[in-house]
Assembly symmetry: C2
Homo-oligomer: 198 residues x 2
Amino acid sequence: MSKELIFGHSNPDTDAIVAAKAYSYLQNKLGYDTEAVALGEPNPETQFVLNYFDEATPRVISEASSEVDSVMLVDHNEAQQSVSDIDKLTVTHVIDHHRIDNFRTDLPLYYRAEPVGCTSTILTKMFDENKVEIPAQLAGLMLSAIVSDTLLLKSPTTTDDDKIAVKALAEIADIDVDKYGIEMLKAGTNTDAKSDQE
Amino acid sequence: MSKELIFGHSNPDTDAIVAAKAYSYLQNKLGYDTEAVALGEPNPETQFVLNYFDEATPRVISEASSEVDSVMLVDHNEAQQSVSDIDKLTVTHVIDHHRIDNFRTDLPLYYRAEPVGCTSTILTKMFDENKVEIPAQLAGLMLSAIVSDTLLLKSPTTTDDDKIAVKALAEIADIDVDKYGIEMLKAGTNTDAKSDQE
Ligand SMILES: [Mn+2]
Ligand SMILES: [Mn+2]
Ligand SMILES: [Mn+2]
Ligand SMILES: [Mn+2]
């Protein structure tokens, strides 16, 4: 099986960066050869999260077809939010929580979308379904993505699935969600540089 | 929750008819109010299957927006294969095993596609994941759909998931797959009327 890249949307938010890392970890455990990359530098909130959990900043790419034939998308599907040369690539997997638009394939693929608050919520379920344990550090990242997308489970897009995922991830990461979450959201609002993709 | 219709593609094959019935059964168990309908009369193979398992022929519709606001699609996603007034409807769920093309939504939705041989294979997994038992009669229908789409697990689109599903469904339905499958496939080839959508 040849290597595939996994990435979230351009102007990445915390979910776009984290969901790529989480899905790459899961897929590699399941036998795929993947690398999580990003379509832009982390915003201040995401950089706070990566620092907090001592996680490396992902490699930023501007095109993918020079290094791989196939890719997996997380946290987006619309071509205009994706890598610049998406038309030259085969999309084999998509994990997302947005509407579907301006997306097409030539071949059957794995596509999983659920109308929940965050891609990392879907991924939390997928680790469980595949009986793959989430490492504590990754659980912290995924919890951060859900807190970011749902504004501490307060946004109108928040579902029961998001709440259940945050509870499970907080236990694995041993995090006080409210205390950590407010610190994290403040890190993202301390500057004008915050991306506002979602 | 208001009622939704579930249907497969026009010119329905056995999977299009059966997957609608199976998904409607599952969704109703999970609390939805759905009715499985069809976008055309069953072909001779499908009629053989419905007769064999003493299952009612689904109601045929030509448009849906006069009776519901929302629909769930199985075994297709492309607008030109769907109900005539698909643009006036909200698609809330899709279960499919084809490429994605000419499909878009305004809102987030539940979309599950896997590159396997048959929609009924995905549905077999979903019953298991949701811990809903498949009645023997429905298992016979779902097995028939997989046998139909994969030509008795011999087509190049056949995956391990299809084989696992057929084995599980054959046990529930208490069916000799090879013997029954050949009889079923013959029923479909005894006439020129067989649809050839896939
Ligand atoms: Mn995002
Ligand atoms: Mn997101
Ligand atoms: Mn079909
Ligand atoms: Mn099919």
